[in-house]
């Protein structure tokens, strides 16, 4: 969480006003200046590519390729020949290219404008020394940085002494921008929309990284409470991070595994330092989307193996493909549903396309059979609402050679259910004996229980996972799981809020899975939790009738 004054960062001014005077040097000299700068950037990128992480290193190698690209070079050369300085020529050429990419129709390719801007910035930094790097390095203390997007180059010039928080209008920042911001301990929220770029600079603002909120011009009371919370959080975070790689055990001696959620191979970059005990939720959609054929078994095995080789701990929880009509894939027949969230999604879709289900299960069974794999594969079935869906998944698994043996060999391969539909929570005692673990998805559970779309701002606040109705379903699930003696994990945003952990533990949750930055915090919350007090808290929470009352129990004045 950060508090400071707004500052809007505009990286490359749009098509340049030829503001600098005619260079006193000749085109030949300007060209030489450009070549010198390019050499320096090349050296710089080569140096950066030595980083001990092949994914990040490749990005810098790609930037080297862009640096030497004809399109860029020819445009700079032509401008210099027209008598323009090397710096202005570079700025113009890279702005034009950025613009050209931003106009592409395909989102992936359009978003590569960031890479071009990054290379342009590196060149400019050498050409005029002035510029962006200094613009970022010289910010006053307590600045809340607003920007469309930040390149890794920008991020390497940020300082936590001056930047209190970062708010990006654009969607997910490139992996290493997020990593760099996190390593500096600067709260970052993204996907806020370009309206923020028009906020008047200098206004006071709070960046609440935990809840992903930007609060502009807070009133005094709110500000005061944030200031206090920030102090407390700071102390808490310092303690938490110094113990992030230690096991988390409650005051009464119960070990709680704190796992991490992963959305893609790239996410593996940031989890090593988090101290996670394992992977509690690998969302596999990234393997299936943006392509014309589903991934073959072999390709899937390779992908899961890659993750398993880099993962901390023993447990790899893989959620089966969880898509529906809102995120169609090209190789499945197009479904037009008036309400995709109540339509064919998750396990319902997989059962309609048994070959997809079988291939994914086959890949996971194969991984668990590999001699080099020493951990535990947990297969997580999404969107279960009927017990017959569980039967059918187990039938398919039974028909896969090796499954029965692996399953019996204590723990090597487990099957569990996502509890995210109220029906599944209400029938938890019926399904618990059939499976090896539960994972409660609180985001969807809240949304389905309260019949409120979390993305629709008119009703989003209704879908609070702290609503007593949701807590009762969680309690019911935990009770059934505890009777069957299976682990009950919880994932979803609420699990990542350390202040909520005692309540969840009191309700009977035995494990959690959270985003990487929350791992140390939740571990520290575990260490401060006492079982008896937590159970009393949970009992009180279950007796309330409103989410606000639960909130007051968690945060007494």
């Amino acid at each position: 969480m950060g508090i400071g004054r707004l500052y809007t960062y505009t990286p490359l001014p749009h098509p340049t006003q030829p503001r600098d005077v005619e260079p006193s040097t000749s085109p030949a000299q300007e060209w030489q200046r450009y070549l010198d700068a390019r050499q320096k950037v090349d050296d710089e990128l080569a140096q950066l590519a030595k980083i001990d992480n092949s994914l990040v290193a490749d990005i810098f190698r790609v930037h080297q390729e862009i640096l030497h690209d004809r399109l860029l070079t020819d445009a700079v050369r032509a401008a210099i020949d027209r008598g323009i300085s090397a710096a202005t020529a570079t700025q113009q050429a890279s702005s034009d290219l950025v613009q050209m990419f931003q106009n592409l129709s395909d989102d992936y390719f359009a978003s590569r404008a960031v890479d071009i801007r990054d290379v342009g910035q590196r060149l400019l930094a050498h050409l005029n020394g002035v510029s962006l790097a200094r613009q970022l390095a010289a910010l006053p203390p307590n600045t809340v940085l607003l920007a469309e997007d930040l390149t890794p180059f920008d991020a390497t010039h940020l300082s936590s002494d001056s930047v209190a928080g970062i708010v990006l209008a654009g969607s997910a920042p490139t992996a290493h921008t997020a990593i760099l911001a996190r390593s500096l301990g600067i709260p970052l929220i993204c996907g806020v929309g370009s309206a923020i770029l028009h906020l008047p600079p200098g206004q006071l603002a709070i960046v609440d990284g935990l809840q992903g909120r930007l609060i502009v011009e807070p009133d005094e009371e709110l500000l005061e409470s944030y200031v206090q919370t920030r102090q407390r959080l700071l102390a808490f975070r310092i303690t938490a991070e110094s113990h992030s790689h230690e096991a988390a055990t409650t005051l009464d001696g119960r070990r709680v595994l704190v796992h991490v959620n992963i959305n893609s191979q790239e996410d593996m970059l940031q989890i090593a330092s988090s101290g996670a005990d394992g992977i509690g939720l690998l969302r596999t959609e990234y393997l299936f989307q943006e392509r014309t054929t589903p991934p073959a078994v072999e390709e899937q095995i390779e992908a899961y193996r890659l993750i398993s080789q880099q993962m901390p701990g023993e447990i790899l929880t893989v959620r089966l493909l969880d898509i529906g009509g809102d995120k169609p894939v090209r190789y499945l027949p197009q479904m037009t549903e008036s309400n995709p969230f109540l339509g064919v999604r998750g396990i319902r879709l997989l059962l309609q396309h048994p070959e997809l289900l079988r291939d994914q299960l086959q890949a996971l069974v194969s991984l668990s059979l590999e001699s080099s794999f020493t951990g535990v594969v947990r297969i997580l079935v999404p969107m279960v609402s009927k017990i017959v869906e569980v039967y059918r998944v187990l039938e398919v698994l039974d028909s896969i050679p090796g499954y029965r043996e692996e399953h019996r060999r204590e723990g090597r391969l487990q099957v569990g259910l996502m509890i995210e539909v109220p029906a599944a929570a209400l029938l938890a005692d019926r399904v618990a004996p059939l499976v090896d673990f539960f994972s409660i998805g609180t985001n969807d559970l809240a949304q389905y229980t309260l019949a409120a779309d979390r993305v629709n701002s008119a009703v989003a606040s209704l879908a609070s996972p702290l609503d007593p109705s949701v807590l009762r379903l969680i309690a019911m699930t935990c009770q059934a799981g505890n009777v069957a003696e299976i682990p009950i994990s919880i994932c979803g945003e609420m699990a990542g809020d350390p202040s909520i952990f005692p309540l969840l533990f009191g309700l009977g949750v035995t494990e959690v899975s959270v985003v990487a930055p929350a791992v140390p915090l939740v571990k520290e919350a575990v260490r401060q939790t006492d079982g008896d007090a937590a159970r009393r808290l949970a009992a009180n929470a279950l007796r309330t009738s409103r989410a606000q009352e639960v909130h007051r129990l968690l945060h007494p004045e």
């Binding site: 890479d115 071009i116 943006e290 390709e299």
Partner: protein
């Protein structure tokens, strides 16, 4: 004189010109890292090589430029038409076709570029 993939191509007398069509197999399309591989291979040859994305009816672009290749916005399954002209045009196309036909290794296709 389009041929599905390389093979025996007619050799015009003066300037060697060859063409081939290839299908993008990279699950994530011809993204930055894959494009870099293509540029690296193409740049080893003196021939002028262009590509056109038939699936998007794009313009012809220079295969030796990563920025131009990205303009093709080639996704998995898209069909590209490659044309090469120059003394080593045939070899260049062979090498490029081999690159496109090699089953993409997963580690290079899930990159964050």
């Amino acid at each position: 004189m389009d041929k599905p993939d390389p093979g025996a191509l007619p050799a015009p007398p003066a300037r060697q010109e060859h063409s081939a069509t290839v299908t993008v197999r990279y699950p994530q399309g011809l993204h930055l890292r894959a494009s870099r591989d293509v540029v690296r291979v193409a740049s080893q040859y003196a021939a002028d090589i262009t590509a056109q994305n038939l699936s998007r009816s794009s313009e012809q672009v220079d295969v030796k430029s990563i920025l131009q290749l990205m303009q093709l916005q080639a996704r998995q399954g898209h069909v590209l038409h490659l044309q090469a002209a120059g003394p080593d045009a045939a070899d260049a196309l062979d090498a490029l076709c081999a690159l496109f036909h090699r089953p993409p290794s997963l580690s290079s296709s899930t990159a964050g570029c």
